[in-house]
Symmetry: C2
Subunit: 326 residues, 2 copies
């Protein structure tokens, strides 16, 4: 077992490789016929971000036997561009002011232009995906259609105190875990893996993505500066996250009524009372247990791949998600 420094270096190398490829893609696009759109898009594309998705695509490709980083880069770019497209359109919907530490596109250039930029990022993502086989194009398209369905479902459950755990899982699977899964699976296909191996890589991505989103939801509640937004922002937007759903399911009588009020009329002044109720019903702990279950399943999927420095690094990355939660 190597030190965490080694893993961190391996991941940083991939991240830097990706940043360089992204910067080149942006510069090329700026010089092309749609340059004016990329000039706006780059304000969010190049504003940083942790690049979880493209780094995962690159690592999944290598773990599945892929040997040429240049071959996988268009796919890593495709998933990052499509992810960014959804962020741009989501931020309009949520009226968000900041993204990746920068002023959101719609705040800076207006919603009308931000819609166009989001469309463009989708299109560019698909164009990059289109360099691969029809199998890959199909995986990307299916994943994107499910993102749209999940966003619609999320909108329909805004402020809905009757949202079930199944609704919640359908939403986060479509919005977050599905793209993680599709990215890992498609990367394995590009590496030449058989369908069974690619499916196992997809399972890894799915479980990691589920854990990742539940941790995000927990961090939003607990208020973490890494989120770059005020604590409870999801509650304020009426997003029904797992701890809330769990607490609403378990409580009854007066405390159920009070919990409903706190969620429906949330403001930072009632934050402590809300957290107290969530702790009393064990809802934060329940969500943490689920995170660990998903991560354990993700690690189990990894174990089916041959041991290597790379697999160690992916395991380490998986455990990083767990640590975000601690």
């Amino acid at each position: 077992m190597q030190s965490s420094d080694t893993h961190s270096t391996l991941l940083d190398e991939r991240r830097e490789m990706f940043e360089a490829a992204l910067e080149k893609h942006v510069a090329d696009a700026e010089a092309g016929p749609s340059g004016a759109v990329m000039e706006l898009a780059k304000h969010v594309l190049l504003a940083g971000g942790k690049r979880w998705r493209p780094v995962l695509v690159m690592l999944a490709y290598e773990l599945a036997g892929g040997e040429n980083d240049e071959d996988i880069m268009p796919l890593a770019l495709a998933f990052e561009l499509i992810h960014t497209a959804t962020l741009v359109h989501d931020d309009i919907n949520d009226n968000a002011k900041l993204r990746r530490g920068a002023v959101t596109l719609h705040e800076r250039f207006g919603s009308v232009k931000a819609i166009v930029v989001g469309d463009y990022l989708f299109v560019e993502g698909f164009a990059l995906g289109g360099r691969f086989s029809q199998r890959i194009v199909g995986l990307i398209a299916d994943c994107c259609a499910r993102i749209a369905a999940a966003e619609l479902k999320q909108l329909e459950h805004v402020g809905d105190l009757g949202t079930t755990p199944e609704d919640y899982y359908a939403i986060i699977e479509g919005k977050t875990a599905g793209p993680f899964a599709a990215g890992c699976r498609a990367a394995a296909v590009v590496a030449g893996a058989d369908e069974q191996t690619a499916a196992r890589m997809g399972s890894f991505g799915l479980e990691l993505g589920l854990a990742f989103q539940i941790v995000d939801d927990l961090l939003d509640l607990l208020g973490d500066e890494r989120m770059g937004k005020p604590r409870g922002a999801d509650v304020l937007e009426g997003k029904m996250t797992l701890p809330l759903i769990h607490a609403l399911t378990l409580s009854h009588g007066d405390s159920r009524r009070r919990l409903g009020e706190l969620i429906s009329e949330f403001n930072d002044g009632v934050w402590e009372e809300l957290i107290e109720l969530l702790e009393r019903s064990g809802s934060l702990e329940y969500a943490s247990v689920l995170v660990n279950n998903h991560l354990t399943r993700a690690l189990d999927s990894l174990l089916t791949f041959p041991e290597s420095e790379l697999r160690d690094a992916l395991e380490w990355l998986t455990r990083q998600v767990m640590e975000r939660n601690e």
Copy 2:
């Protein structure tokens, strides 16, 4: 030469074939994992529309030697879905109330859902295009990136009295003529035509599309019930169309100043005065002459294909665009 009834029947057959395929696609999607999004999307997809784009794709495929209508249908659907995606997002931007005679999606379900539905239609269009070769995926992606660039350019010239004819052409080529060209060209590629033949088919689509858009702009000014919106709606939105640009270029002194006022502060009460100024500078006639020039070039491109009932029908269709203008 056959009667126009024959041509009309031939075109109606293709349109009906397309409608049936579209209805089947919608029903299949409704039964799938993104069914809830298609349930919203179908309100605009199945609200009618003249289906110029998919019918052109089908005819271009046949004229280029394609023999199996089922083979080309996914491409015809792809272009119609992508076109509809742009309409949904445009209507949000323009705050339009009606589309294809039906209440617009954002009016009915809110802008937030309408953005998601538009994204979904883009994705579905790409998924259908993804069934073809990388060459086709590339043509679609390039065309869509140019649509985004043209929309951005149009937004940047809203109310800009200094908009040049070159700006105008860049906008309508990106938004309207480019997709016509890409559809015709891609259809020829699917039919197995060589690149030169496919390029000629693309030229036909480009010229037809340019004429089509200039006629649309003229009909908006002159007030035509087929547009389904009040006369001068484009002027009201600050869209700089060719007759306005021409008149602004030619006039000077007091009449230039007055023309600028009429455009910037347009309302239906000054419609007659605006039309009078446009007629005095010969701007409506100028636009009509350009329409005929583009249509003549479109017909010239068609003449390079072997004579057939189908070519006659396409010529007839091209002349229909001219008649819209009379």
